[in-house]
């Protein structure tokens, strides 16, 4: 039976290839129906599977972990196109498996949608689960985040594999207590960086201890609700870190972990956390230090995630923001930079973005340090302009340009370091508009 199903899947993949179409999710969706929802169960994977999940940073961390193994000479399978549901996983494996369902690789590295962790890994044996963080997402605002954590927690109750958790995120660290018999729980942690605060600066959740309800106390907040926390009543938060990022200096872009110094190319506290998760995974799988160093120091992303462009001679950084945390991240990097700056914010409300844009009100716009102009664009250009106006930014410095090319031209015409924030469906058109402007005005996509 399995063989027939796999054959069907492989035929769909081949036919789609014939028409030069990316197979995408379709083969997986077909098999999902044929197997009544158990489309991952057909495969026999004898190598370790490493899954990466969390609200923000999945793609970066997945790609880096894959490189750890690749550069160490291993054969890996990875989902690069963000196809991170069970049907995506199935479609991917169909390309690599034998008709018997055997998958030939040394490691499978899979970025996994948060809600699909229990679905997929109840069908396939998972070696390591890396959980980065949990933030309230715009699509996820009816107490659904708690439901999501509960689901993964349920999975963790009987999971005995490696669990690499962000020890500074109470929403994530709580998973470490799901199975008291699991000896393979490992927390990553970071010492405070220069812009860590004593009080919370950005909208957040998870104020209360999930075990006893007491208000969590923090030594410091790095960003949002990420920081060194403790429950004074039941001790939640007193876990020993497996690896700690310290001596974090974002001006020089360096940090150390386990005594090794790294100089990442992406310079933000968010990236430090992501790379600490990568370092933890490297430590767990005994990756040679040279390889880890290379991966962490050379990691860049060219898909609108902290991507750099030159608009003429004006340096421009584009970053995706799917939620307030993502937007706060760019604003933080922007405000921390000691120079004159200008901002472009592109906001859409297509189905994939979440039809509601009120999450922009959870972005912290209260500080604009040396930001001399704000341009807004996208389908909801006016909404983001209203938001920034009410944060207290002078209304006469806000320019609304729903047309993207006009918005980019408006941004480029004045002096200053440029920052561009775009939400999910806005990233690709914004990237194109920036590249187009750069091509016509002598800049380049770095």
């Amino acid at each position: 039976m399995n063989t027939i199903l796999i054959l069907i899947g492989k035929i769909i993949v081949a036919v789609l290839r014939l028409f030069k179409r990316n197979a995408g999710n379709l083969p997986g969706i077909v098999l999902w129906h044929l197997t009544r929802g158990k489309c991952c169960k057909m495969f026999k994977i004898n190598c370790p599977i490493i899954a990466i999940t969390g609200t923000n940073g999945k793609s970066s961390v997945t790609s880096c972990i894959a490189q750890l193994f690749e550069q160490n000479g291993k054969k890996i399978i990875i989902n690069r196109e963000g196809n991170n549901l069970d049907t995506g996983f199935c479609s991917l494996l169909l390309r690599y498996c034998t008709l018997g369902g055997k998958v030939d690789a040394d490691y499978v590295v899979f970025e996994t949608d948060e809600s699909y962790v229990p679905v997929i890994y109840s069908q396939l044996k998972l070696d390591t689960l890396v959980v980065l963080n949990f933030f309230r997402d715009q699509l996820d605002r009816n107490g659904e985040m708690e439901t999501l954590i509960q689901k993964i927690n349920g999975f963790c109750k009987s999971f005995e594999g490696n669990l690499i958790l962000n020890g500074d995120d109470p929403n994530t660290a709580r998973l470490g207590r799901a199975n008291p018999n699991n000896k393979n729980v490992k927390y990553f942690h970071a010492k405070p960086y220069a812009f860590a605060t004593d009080t919370i600066f950005e909208a957040s959740e998870g104020r209360f201890c999930p075990f006893c309800g007491e208000t969590l106390e923090y030594d410091y907040y790095q960003y949002s609700h990420i920081g060194k926390f403790i429950c004074k009543k039941c001790g939640f938060g007193n876990h020993e870190p497996y690896i700690t990022a310290e001596n974090i200096d974002l001006e020089k872009s360096v940090f150390t972990a386990d005594g090794h110094e790294y100089s990442p190319k992406i310079n933000s506290i968010y990236n430090i956390y992501n790379m600490t998760a990568v370092a933890a995974t490297a430590k767990l799988y005994d990756i040679p230090q040279k390889v880890t160093h290379n991966v962490i120091s050379n990691h860049i992303i060219n898909n609108g995630r902290m991507e750099t462009f030159m608009l003429g001679d004006r340096k421009t950084t584009l970053n995706l923001a799917k939620n307030p945390v993502g937007a706060n991240m760019t604003l933080r990097v922007m405000n921390e930079m000691q120079t004159d700056k200008e901002l472009l914010f592109v906001l859409n409300d297509k189905l994939a973005d979440g039809i509601d844009v009120s999450w922009i009100w959870d972005i912290n716009f209260s500080e604009f340090d040396r930001v001399h102009k704000v341009v807004t664009s996208g389908i909801r250009a006016y909404d983001i302009a209203v938001r920034i106006k009410y944060a207290g930014y002078p209304a006469d410095k806000i320019i609304v340009c729903p047309d993207l090319d006009e918005a980019v031209a408006e941004l480029a015409k004045t002096e200053g370091r440029k920052f561009v924030i775009a939400n999910y469906t806005a990233v690709a058109p914004t990237r194109s508009a920036l590249i187009k402007y750069a091509e016509n005005h002598g800049g380049k996509n770095e």
């Binding site: 605002r141 009816n142 009100w361 207290g392």
Partner: protein
């Protein structure tokens, strides 16, 4: 009067779809007129507030699961809130806040959870997911004395019945009930609505109605609020109204 005091209740538990933004908007619009605005927060575990000392009581919306916990807490202050309401405190209530002031909330098991009972509407939980009221909404109001169309974003499954004086008539969207006719609840000193977004972002007239009410609450001679350039807000609203009406 040149100072407005606001009591924002359960901000940590009830903050959906930008509801806390309403406070940012009211402070901004006060600041632009040289009116001082002070916002105090109250939540479960805080000391008992002196309701009589406030001009505005504000409650936003949240996850349905929080509702019981909050109504248990809120009901302790029933007498004080009723007195403040009778003395003319302005009550601005969004979604969960709107429901909490009604007679009861009938949960999915058919059990009536008593609410504050300040107004005689009541809410029934809707279990049919298809009847959930989600999306942008436009309504026609008269609360300013003129016809005014306003917009917001609704997301609720509760069906609020027996509303005698709604805030407006639904032009596009659901309102108090699925595919309903009316939206919200209105009295001279009460605006209750299901509209998030936050509600005040695209509707500066609501903010100014509330601020104007407070400024004139104890004055015999009504004062006009200095105008603010609302071009961005009004453009923003018009785009949404056009989009909804062309659907």
């Amino acid at each position: 009067m040149n100072k407005i005091r606001i009591l924002h209740m359960y901000a940590d538990l009830l903050d959906l779809y930008g509801d806390s933004g309403n406070m940012e908007i009211i402070s901004y619009r006060c600041r632009m007129r040289g009116i001082e605005c002070e916002i105090d927060q109250y939540s479960i575990g805080s000391p008992k507030p002196d309701f009589s000392s406030y001009d505005i009581l504000y409650i936003g919306g949240g996850a349905d699961i929080e509702q019981q916990r909050i109504s248990d807490d809120l009901i302790k202050y029933r007498a004080e809130i009723e007195e403040a309401y009778k003395n003319g405190i302005f009550m601005f209530l969004v979604c969960g806040g709107f429901q909490l002031m009604g007679k009861h909330y009938r949960d999915t098991n058919g059990k009536d959870i008593p609410e504050l009972g300040l107004f005689d509407y009541y809410t029934v939980a809707e279990t049919d997911r298809k009847k959930k009221c989600v999306g942008d909404i436009a309504i026609r109001t008269e609360f300013t004395g003129k016809t005014l169309d306003i917009v917001g974003f609704e997301n609720h499954s509760g069906q609020t019945h027996n509303v005698k004086t709604p805030l407006g008539e639904v032009l596009n969207g659901n309102g108090n009930t699925t595919q309903g006719k009316n939206e919200g609840y209105f009295e001279k000193n009460v605006i209750a609505t299901y509209m998030h977004g936050p509600c005040l972002a695209k509707n500066p007239e609501i903010s100014d109605y509330i601020i104007g009410y407070c400024v004139n609450r104890n004055n015999d001679i009504p004062t006009e609020l200095a105008p603010i350039d609302d071009t961005i807000e009004k453009n923003c609203r018009q785009i949404m109204i056009d989009r909804l009406m062309n659907n």
